[in-house]
Amino acid sequence: MTTLALTINGRAYGPTEVRDELSMNDFLREYLGLTGTKFGCGAAQCLSCAIIVDNPDGTSTTSPTCVVAAANFNGKAIRTDEGHARGNELSALQKAFIEHFAFQCGYCTAGFLNEGQVLLERLARKPVARVDLETTIAEALDGHLCRCTGYVKYHEAVRDVILADPKRYLV
């Protein structure tokens, strides 16, 4: 057993004892009821389980949760699907997903949302040239699997959020 304490969506959880091999996905879903994080493959291949990890240096990355033990997140701050909206106010990216009909069945959406949000925050810190934007989005979202939409609308939604605020995201 391992003692686990972490911050999720700005709220402290733990310390609590968890089995060493308990996955972060199961910890979120089974123990905390945070079912916005999905389980797709259990092999870190589809990334529908991806969450955001906020690093101490102010940067953020995504991490799969299905193959990573909950214990690995001890002391960390993470964000999940439930952490994007502020009350009833959806984030800019969430609104863009809806406006673009970016998702259909919705099962992969949490992963795309987290990855897209991390990209937005990265670009806000380190903007890219407009000419590099398409490649930047494609590289950021690639690896997240969607079986319904063919990905185009997800990319369009992320692009629109960036182009709506070029001073923030683009060189």
Partner: protein, 826 residues
Amino acid sequence: MDLGRLKGALEPAVVVTADDLARIGTRVPAFYAGDLLCPIGKTPLYLGQPVALLIFEHFDAFDQARLALRDGTFVRFGEETGPIVGPNYGAFRFTRVAGPTPDAPDVYSPIQAGWISPARIQDSALPVWSPLARQTPANYAKGAVYGEQIRAELAAKDPTLLVLDREFETQSVDPMFLEPEAGLAWFSGDSSKLELVLGVQSPYDAAEAVAFMLGKARAPFKPARINSHFAYMGGGFGGRDHTPFMLYLALAGMFFPGRPVRLAHDRYQQFQGGIKRHAFKMRSQIGVDRTTGKIRAFAADHVLDGGGLANYSPNVATVAAAAAIGIYDVPKLDVTTVALHSRGVTAGSMRGYGTLQTMTALEVLIDETSAALSLDPIEFRRRNALGPNGRTMTGNPYTVSVRTPEILDKLEKHPIWRDRAQEKALGAQGGKLVGTGVACVTKDYGSGADCSFGKIEIDREGRISIHCDHVEMGTAVGTAVANRVALHLGAVADEITLAQIDAFDELALVTSGDPYTMDQKTQDAAARNPRWVPSLSTVTTASIGAHVGTQAAAEAARVILRFGLWPAALELWRIPATDPRAKQWETAAWKDGHLTMPDLAPLPLARLAATAHSRNLVTGASTHAFSRWAWSRARFQVAGVSWTADIDALAVRRGDGKFQRLDRSSVAFPPTDNNRIGATYTSLCGTLVRVEIERASGALNIAKAYSVLECGRTLVPEVVRGQAQGGFAMGVGYALLESLPPYEGGPGNGQWNLGQYLIARGSDLPLRDLEIEMLPPLTPDEPPKGMAEVVMIPVVPALLNAIFDATGHRFQSLPVTQKILKGALA
């Protein structure tokens, strides 16, 4: 089972085996025939057949046990027996010989003579197709004689006829919806009620199957009541249509009473137990007049690997065969098809339903044929395209728009096609193999016996609620039904409840028989009961979401408009019944939430609704619609007015009152002979792709693509586009990436996951150069047509044709992976 490995913290609370199922008296519904759990001492029906249900009281025990058992050594086997050899699941022959002129009756066709099968009992593994075979039924022999004549013509050395004889193989693949199958079950011993929560494409049939399974079980394993709640699903693609999952879920609940049980596949289990797409082996022969470039004859033989259980194998075989000539007008046709039992994982419904396989083979063959005739591939297609009144494989015409010439024109004029030679040359200069491919297909929508329930209520404030029995799995059924209802009621619903199969009691409908096989006499007799319909609730499948899934709700909305909102409007406009305008309800139009008529003040929906309520007008309607390649049509008396519509049952609510059933005064159900039809509803889609291939590595890049489709009125254009984009991605996966070994080493071993099974990622697709064009409807009121399957199909042959254009290699099996390409180019 090595249960000794599951001791202490890993110990299951309950172990359910085949013996337990026998002991409590479960019955397996006919559709799922076969042992649900493999009994001790029997050879499994197929690789991966479940052996037991292990139910754990706590998540931690389950979690530790599943990890401990993942190495695949938990089940102990006896001596090798070899696989079980089972009879085939169905064998059929579709033969058609057209008359001497297009207007003349066919000499022979399935719609004239019925669908035919050779005798089921044969000594050989494959059916004996000969009309002279022992035990041959007479109706089969007659069709087979015509079929053999067609084959003899193709085999004759006729110098005026170009004959190509080709084989094509397709692979087994997984639907790979993102959410593995899952559900909840809770059997309360006290109330004897079994509660189920699950997501399936076939709610009514799922509930019925569970009821049958437990209907004769001994106490306390027979629930007094089963309450099924159907949830939205994380994708379906056919793969959640009639899977046996809900049977295991219900059993889990029954064997662990008093507590909620969750059964949830992980991805390994989903690969192991989920329904697969059929692998096909096909031989196709085409005979084309060398002078006219017209197809004279086509013959094909299809062999489907159905896996361990029958499931939908016979249906997939027939749908695939009936679609084997795609968009073409061919006067002589002969197609045999057989679905075989094997030890593979069960195959069943999946997007395309067999037509993906047969039309891929066809469109690759068409490309080769046009090249052999030195004809442009689009011109060859145009020359042979079936016209709007032409006859399909089964001998009937389509009853909807057939816009092949428009589609072909669009393809021909598109820059991807127009610039293909130039781009190929440019690629060559840059050291790349560049090729362009085209394909055009037509795909039916509907299964031949489809229906929907729809109930709409509008409250005093004008808020609209909709209940519908069709399900949402990422296809926007909910949005489609809301948008279609809004055409009649002026506003998008405030509340939509889908997958409801028990919300229409006011109609008090009953059914009997099988709508696919019943005879006319039986139907006529049954139809005398005004509460009888051929089927109550069917599967959300076969691209029927827009066409069928929204039909009942749309008709209910029309009733509310005509008998609720319209008379309310007349009162507010002070138009008396004697005024000619009082009958012009169909010319009224909604604009910005207001009902409008020329020279009259627009009326907001809320005011109309309030008036309808206060005057006790119709404020709710509940309907049922049935289609057997044509809608049922019935007449009712509503508010003293004769009302005829494409529905077969109606109940209305007045004001705030209760719903009251209105018995139909006459009904015309589609004739049972329509069961001989292959399809009357169809949509078209054409695709162009340009590929760039690196000779050294075999790496293929799809540089550009264009799909053009027609689907009548688009209820949710954004999702139609999304379906087309998603269909493109799934087509790319099927053509280039996805494959499951059929037997040993395949998914039945429980070791498969997305590390080995590759589906299309964003980087596999031309995300910035994928153009989708939807033809506008022919008329403003053209009904919506199904399109979710047709958009996937041409992608696959277009890719193969593009690869041929780039490399000169005509691949006749799928998938064409990078490794295979590299080998071919070495």
